[in-house]
Every structure is written in C-alpha cells, then in structure tokens.
C-alpha cells in the first residue's frame, strides 16, 4: 500500500459519522446546554454559534471538541456589565448541571455526579459580546495574561481552516497529537499547520506534506511565528505557543521522522482496521481465558 493510500485509510477509520452514538450524544448535550443558558438569560439577545472541530470540518473520532459560543449584543448587560461578569455568571449557571472547569476564555464542561462524574464532554462554552452593532467581531474574557479581554471572530477562524486546503493534514496532525498525548491547543496546532505549509507546493501528496510539516518544524526548531487570523496584531499567542510546547513538538517531530525513515507509516498511526463492538469484547475474552485471568482493579 502506498503511503497516501494508507493515510487515506487512517482518515477513513477516524470518521465520526453523524449517526454515531458519540456524535448524537455530543449534539444532544449541546442542545441541553443551549436550553440552560437561554432559560437563565431570558430576554437577552443571544447569538449562538458552533465552533470547534465539527464546525471546521477537522473532526476525528479519537480527538474532537465542540465550542459552543454565546454572544450578547454590544449593549446587552443581562448577564453582567463586564466580560468577566458574563463569564462568571455563565459558570455559575452551568454549575447546577455540570462540573465547570474555568479555562482561559472558555468553560469546559464535565459530568457532575454518578457514573458521569468528571467525564469530559469535550464541550467548551465561550461567552462573549459583540464589539458593535455590525455583529462581526466579539470581545471575550481572558483570565490570564496582561489583557482581560480578547477581540476575536469565530467565523474568521472557521474560514481560515476551511479554506486552507489542509483539512486532511490537520486531521492527521491532530491524530498525531492525540497519540502522543501532546499538550497543545487545537487552535494553535491548526494555525501552525497552515503557517508551516503555506509556502509548500500544494501538489504534494499528503504523506509528503506531513513529512514537510515535521521537517520544517525540526529545522526551524519550532520558531514559527503564528498569529490569530481574527486579530493578527492584537492577540498575543505567546502564552499558548510557548517554549515548552515548541520543545516537545520539535522533539516528537524528530522522533516521528526517524520512525518513518526507519520503518513504516503504520508505526506512526497504527492499524486502520476498525473492530466491531462484538469483535472487541470477544478478543478481550479470548485473551483473558488464554492467560487464565487478569488483574482485578481495586480502589482504595
């Protein structure tokens, strides 16, 4: 199998169909959150937008998220005067149903109790306010850094990724990140892929593009300037594209290039065959019986 055929099979195996249980759960959760927010801020003129990998078309079954964005009109103060007040009041509202983890600008939702305790729903709620009546750019709260507010535009982010012509490369790099459990924000990784490959021949095959990405990253030692397309001069990404992230990414790029040089692409992304639920259960049972048992998990 040619590398490009193999990578195409990897992408195929990473699809998350809209009729899958996981996808349906995600959408149903999204509806639940919308209902909670809308009923808490009755009368507010809220615009709801969907971001994240679903909106950008970069969803893979092993690594996905959904940004649920609530924008108030420029003059609307029903959830608070300041952006911080809006952010906090959203957190308070959602705490009734979820464990709310405060992130830099968003609120990550996790299961609150019982069998869902601490389960990550992969949903980030982002409250904000339009900058003016044109309803283009928005201000969102920023908990860390010098500035307390960030000017952004979700549509520009989505468009930047969608129009890059690099959707499949981004999906595979996200899978690579997932396999390495690498801590780098999806937004930063997407910008990085697009920036690194912007001057690379568009006619290259997908495997060649991936190799180029890792090679450029390695050769430039991670020193690749990236900027937020929604506010290129205004938003400082240095806190999320920092020295440690760069060093880890470069180190893993080198390892991956060595792996490809010495072996096969399969050593990077693994097998592409998908097993059915029954096959997985059966394989576990066969292995357990051959070994005559398994360790029984405990809890203190």
């Amino acid at each position: 199998m040619k590398p490009s055929e193999y990578l195409s099979a990897v992408l195929q195996s990473q699809q998350l169909p809209e009729d899958s249980e996981e996808y349906r759960k995600l959408i149903s959760r999204r509806e639940d959150i919308e209902k909670i927010i809308k009923s808490s801020f009755k009368g507010a003129k809220l615009t709801v937008r969907y971001g994240g990998s679903i909106a950008k078309g970069t969803i893979i079954s092993e690594d996905y998220d959904l940004d649920l964005i609530f924008y108030f009109e420029a003059e609307d103060t029903s959830a608070g005067e300041s952006l911080e007040e809006i952010y906090k009041s959203f957190g308070k509202t959602l705490q009734g149903n979820y464990i709310v983890q405060e992130k830099r600008s968003s609120l990550r939702l996790k299961g609150k109790s019982g069998m869902e305790s601490n389960i990550d729903f992969y949903i980030d709620v982002v409250p904000g306010r339009y900058t003016d009546v044109s309803k283009q750019d928005v201000f969102i709260y920023q908990s860390g850094g010098d500035k307390k507010r960030l000017k952004t535009n979700i549509e520009k982010h989505i468009e930047h990724v969608r129009k890059s012509g690099l959707i499949d490369v981004i999906k595979l790099i996200k899978l690579w990140r997932s396999r390495k459990a690498l801590l780098i924000k999806t937004f930063v990784l997407e910008l990085l892929v697009i920036k690194v490959l912007e001057s690379v021949d568009k006619g290259l095959s997908i495997d060649q593009k991936l190799i180029k990405f890792w090679e450029i990253l390695r050769d430039k030692n991670g020193e690749i300037p990236i900027e937020d397309p929604a506010n290129p001069q205004g938003n400082d990404l240095s806190t999320v594209w920092d020295v440690t992230t760069k060093a880890n990414l470069v180190m893993l790029a080198k390892v991956t290039l060595d792996t490809i040089k010495n072996g096969q692409w399969e050593d990077v992304f693994g097998a592409t065959e998908k097993m059915s639920r029954e096959e997985r259960i059966s394989s576990i049972q066969v292995a357990t019986s051959l070994r005559g048992g398994r360790a029984q998990p405990w809890s203190c």
Partner: protein
C-alpha cells in the same frame, strides 16, 4: 536525589524499551520528576482494542514503588466504581485521579521483583484498560473488579486463605505483620500450634507481602471489624 539521577542506566533502558514496545510514548523529564505521556494501546489477542491518553508518573523512589497511572482525556469517571482513586491515599502512594490497578498485596504477583516498566504496562496497566473498555462496551467486564477499600482486601485474603471468617483473616494478617513464632496458636482456630498447622502457609505468604503492607491491612481490617473508617484514609498511619 531523584531515582533517574541516581540510576541513569535504568532511565535509558526504559527509554529504549518504550521506543520498541510503545512508540507513541515519550518521556517528560523535568528537574523534579519523570513521567511518560502518550496514547496507551490496550491490547488483547494481538490486536489494539482501544486507546487511552495517559500520564504515568514515576515516584521518587522508583522502582521500589510503582508508577502512578492517570487517564488524562476525561474519559473514565473519577469514581470507585471505575477503580479510579477519589482521594489521595499516601500510605499506598495513591493520588486522587490515579488508576487503582490491583490490591497492593498482589504486587508480587503482577510486578515481581526484577520486572521492568514495560512488563508493568503489558501486565496490570493493560489489564486495567481492558477492564475499562469492557465496562464501556457492556457495563459488565468479564473479570470482576475487587470490592472497594477494605472489602477488596478481605476478598483477596478470603481467596488466599480459603475462609470467610473475618476474625481468622485478621489473625492471619497479624501473623504476616509480626514475627510469628511456631509455638503460637494457629490463626485457623484448630487449637494446634502454628508450627503443626499452617506454618508453611504463613511463611510463604511473608515472602509475598511485606510486613509494612500487612500492618497497614491489619489496621484497616481491625477498623473495618469495628465498623470504623481505617486511619489510612487520612494518611495517619
């Protein structure tokens, strides 16, 4: 001094064995600690059945104590039902959110002396994640999880000693925790001296379970028999 500074050869060996066996894993070495990150491929029948993003922390005194395993993607709920520690339990080196792989008394079975980090991953860590996959798929894993806390310890000793009698178990564990003498009455209640009854069993068990661990379990079993919370939960032991 950190274990990896004292024993750089061991760190190198781990690095090499990971590259060969778990190519997605990478070592995150800081001044203070060593950990492993990556996607863990839970394997059965030579097939990858599922993957979990993990962080595995080496304790300061590795390899004397076992590494701690954390699932980092928020996929497994932090509950005793799913065998994730809900609190820190310093006496066992357990941290909130870490996986509880087996009853500590089974350490010599699953991680015998001389076994490597990769053996640990292929053994109890793999078993743990297979259990989680079965739970996700059917809600009913083919291998039963141990009871929580002291109940799991009791279950273990019940199987090993072959009795349901809690007092007999407590006596047995006490003999493991102490320097039991042959002239002592046997724990089983036969009325015979230990040396004429279950002496070999006690001595063999002493080779598998450390005196320190037996003391912890003895204290916990006593507290349980008095319907009290074992003190190890507060880390006082």
């Amino acid at each position: 001094m950190q274990w990896h500074k004292k024993n750089p050869k061991l760190l190198k060996a781990i690095e090499e064995s990971l590259r060969k066996n778990y190519p997605d894993f990478w070592l995150d070495i800081s001044k203070q600690s060593v950990s492993v990150r990556g996607s863990f491929p839970a394997t059965a029948d030579n097939k990858i059945i599922g993957r979990f993003k993990v962080l595995i922390e080496f304790p300061e005194n590795y390899p004397k104590s076992l590494p701690r395993v954390f699932e980092t993607d928020g996929r497994i709920p932090h509950s005793r039902e799913r065998h994730i520690n809900e609190i820190d339990v310093p006496v066992y080196g357990a941290k909130k959110g870490s996986a509880c792989l087996f009853v500590p008394e089974e350490m010599s079975k699953y991680c015998p002396e001389g076994s490597s980090f990769v053996d640990f991953l292929k053994g109890p860590v793999n078993d743990f994640f297979l259990w989680q996959i079965e739970y996700e798929l059917s809600g009913n894993p083919s291998v039963k999880g141990r009871g929580h806390g002291v109940e799991g310890t009791i279950e273990f000793y019940k199987e090993k000693i072959g009795t349901d009698d809690l007092h007999e178990i407590i006596k047995f564990v006490n003999y493991i925790a102490r320097d039991a003498k042959g002239h002592w009455p046997c724990y089983c209640g036969s009325g015979q001296k230990l040396k004429n009854c279950h002496y070999v069993k006690v001595m063999n068990f002493k080779k598998q379970v450390s005196r320190k661990l037996a003391k912890i379990s003895h204290e916990a079993l006593l507290a349980y028999s008095r319907k009290k919370q074992p003190t190890y939960f507060s880390g006082n032991l």
